[in-house]
Symmetry: C2
């Protein structure tokens, strides 16, 4: 039993923690299409976004600078849980009998339990600096709501969260965690907003969706000059903040003396995948490494593999700018699955653009395969993953088993973006054998695609 001690964990010191975020806009072969104002169909300017976001974040949204300095106040908070560990999954590899090496970057060590704090903290920070006293947002599984509530409690700001109705009902502990951090949680659709009241008129909207919750949070922010809105994924500045994951992982893979052949991450809005992979993509574009980048999306909501690359709204009520992205239609409501954080109709414009450019791949994974992977992972690696990253784990296992057959050198790096402490009901359903694979509603897709506004050009 006393094998030579194997290195499981690669830790950076605080001094080695990156002090800049990486902006991939500076390195893309072609620029992504700009967001459009739905009234004028012209590119949106900073003034269009000012009611919703502080100017520093708007500037980051359109910045072409390769590196953006992380403010000292944000670094100070990051240091509570960063640098986060990179693990080599020796026990999982052994259980699979694979020659592949599997590494996972673990973001569940953050106070809110996921990677979302990497962006909630700077978003709250810049808002506080510009005089915002309240932030509104949506949350699905509750990871983002928790992360924003945490950040607002640190900066002494009010926080109101519209939680997707179905999650609100099935995950009371997530709501409680948000409340412990001092924020208010509303079930969406709610009676508190014009759009909420409108959606409530049709019973099919009762379970809610991320798109509806975004509409509600945006409406409240737009009406009050001291209130702004915060989004947990999709936008350029959100993806930017997450790149600290990949920057750290680059240094940690170098400590391990290996370079990944496969980088696998789950995608809902895209920020987790972008955070891990963009710094590696920079190195790939510079010709230094050549990993495959693979997004794992849920079979119920496969925006990259089944959506169309078109200009669409980010929310259901059509209050946001139009963004060019892979979309299933802004009123597409996916089959309820346990990975609530991945149930978004669209995909980050940056990820969509990179996918169109052929710089990455995507695979849709059904949920029972995900939970099979998750239970094996928990029993070998000792961490119970959130349902979202189990999609990436399932794909990592597919690749590791392929390597066993082909013998091809396979070094997989994946993002374990959060723990599943609030998702054990999903595990219960899997362990009792009552979980089924989700449906993908083809007819619903066609209906939803038909509602996307037509944009010339």
């Amino acid at each position: 039993m006393d094998d030579n001690v194997r290195r499981h964990k690669y830790m950076l010191t605080e001094d080695q923690m990156p002090t800049t975020w990486y902006n991939i806009m500076a390195d893309l072969p072609t620029p992504p299409p700009p967001p459009l104002h739905p009234g004028t169909m012209q590119p949106v300017g900073p003034e269009d976004l000012a009611p919703l976001f502080p100017m520093e974040l708007i500037m980051q949204e359109v910045s072409q600078e390769r590196y953006i300095e992380i403010p000292g106040g944000v670094l100070d908070v990051y240091r509570q849980w960063r640098p986060s560990p990179l693990f080599r999954a020796h026990n999982l590899e052994k259980a699979l009998g694979t020659p592949a090496h599997i590494y996972y970057k673990y973001e569940g060590v953050s106070p809110a339990g996921s990677h979302k704090t990497n962006t909630s903290v700077p978003q709250a920070y810049y808002n506080k600096k510009e005089g915002t006293t309240r932030l509104t947002t949506e949350t699905g599984a509750g990871q983002w709501g928790t992360a924003l509530a945490f950040a607002c409690s640190l900066y002494d700001m009010e926080c109101e969260v519209w939680q997707v109705g179905a999650s609100f009902d099935s995950k009371p502990f997530r709501k409680l965690m948000i409340e412990v951090f001092g924020a208010k949680v509303h079930r969406s659709p709610s009676e508190l907003t014009d759009v909420g009241r409108e959606f409530l008129k049709d019973p099919k909207n009762l379970p809610g969706s991320l798109g509806i919750a975004i509409s509600e949070a945006v409406e409240v922010a737009a009406k009050d000059p001291k209130t702004r809105y915060a989004l947990g994924s999709v936008l350029n500045h959100v993806l930017l903040h997450q790149t600290i994951i990949g920057e750290e992982a680059l240094l940690q893979m170098a400590m391990a003396g290996e370079s990944p052949t496969h980088i696998v991450g789950c995608t809902g809005g895209g920020s987790n995948f972008a955070g891990l992979s963009f710094p590696f993509l920079r190195e790939k574009l510079a010709g230094k490494i050549s990993p495959r980048l693979i997004a794992a999306e849920p079979a119920s909501c496969p925006s990259l593999t089944r959506g169309e690359y078109r200009y669409d709204f980010g929310d259901t009520a059509g209050m946001t700018p139009l963004m060019k992205m892979h979309t299933l239609g802004h009123d597409f409501i996916p089959d309820p699955i346990h990975a609530g954080g991945l149930r978004y109709h669209g995909m980050a414009p940056l990820i969509s653009h990179i996918y169109e450019e052929g710089l990455m791949e995507a695979v849709a994974v059904p949920q029972t395969e995900c939970f099979q992977a998750a239970v094996l992972f928990a029993r070998t690696e000792g961490i119970v993953p959130a349902p979202e990253p189990t999609h990436a784990l399932a794909l990592a296992i597919r690749e590791a088993l392929k390597a066993k057959e082909t013998g091809e050198e396979t070094i997989i790096l994946t993002a374990l973006c959060g723990h599943g402490h609030f998702d054990l009901a999903a595990y219960d359903s899997y362990l009792r054998g009552s979980m089924v694979d989700e449906n993908f509603d083809e007819a619903r897709l066609q209906e939803a695609l038909a509602t996307i506004p037509v944009v010339a050009g």
Copy 2:
């Protein structure tokens, strides 16, 4: 907002992680009284314990060696989450307006979410080495059951957990977490054991207790030569394994350039408190430092402050050796409170002895004060604590506020032994204003004390 960056976190590298546990038996001014065989009233020998524990743990239980080497295989697992961070609670200090410095050693970073893995891993390791194929145990709040299930999954052993009925009913997620790690969970009292069936005859036993659950797990282990029993606190070897917490904290306080004036920890069975404080007590006994050591116990189950120092059973059915300890009586069932991990009738013999020697103090804290402290802590430090360590936080806050009045130099070190992700129902009750302080049933105490066997001498 960009203050000079303040150091919040003190991290050791893996190379700095201690490689020995500290055995305080080597340094005590007088030896603690030995455990007795209830039949012969003679000190128990290794052969008496052999049906329940592997020989290596029995030897640790009676060892007089000052330092015991941590096996390489255990260090290898420890490195998944150790060294654990030491934090300076700058934000909490600021909220309290206190000149006191507050440090907390955080064990919630472990895969099971508490300090319990520090001992579950070596216990499973030594058992595996000696051919055990199944471990049985009890669990109250569920932290220990989760930790042992985690360890057994790593060493590929079966694990059966008897969970105190009241916790089993009120904390389904804890049970699910244990099941995800592959262990079986039984509601205690159960129909599976002779003692369980006996206890079930009286309806007052239906909610169960730690003492009853221990009796059940011990019975099952005693009947099968390949099955052994694992205890999560109380015994010398368990306290020994936890000293890695204090050994790390000593090094980390040195990094911070400070020496604690107060060391505060919660006590149920005593392993968390011992783990943090014993290495500091070694330095105190050597005349190098002079911190006050203060145990925080729940007002519902105040074994140190209200119990008697007598020989008593560790379990309710009277199947264990008699241990000299502070006890409320082995059939004392405390008021149900949210800190299930502290509802044990006795106290570790080592802690009891040290308390009798005047080397430490104890204070009983009511639960609403604990949760008030916990919510303030969550909103300032960003971590939602388990109900157990909130007792220590409440006491730390009392001392910090005293320092504000007296101006006395106060450097508090406390153990944040676990997170509260599975305890949010308790926070809900506090936030909604429905939590009340627990009762301490004086008449019940007198009854329970009367059942303690009389031991001559």
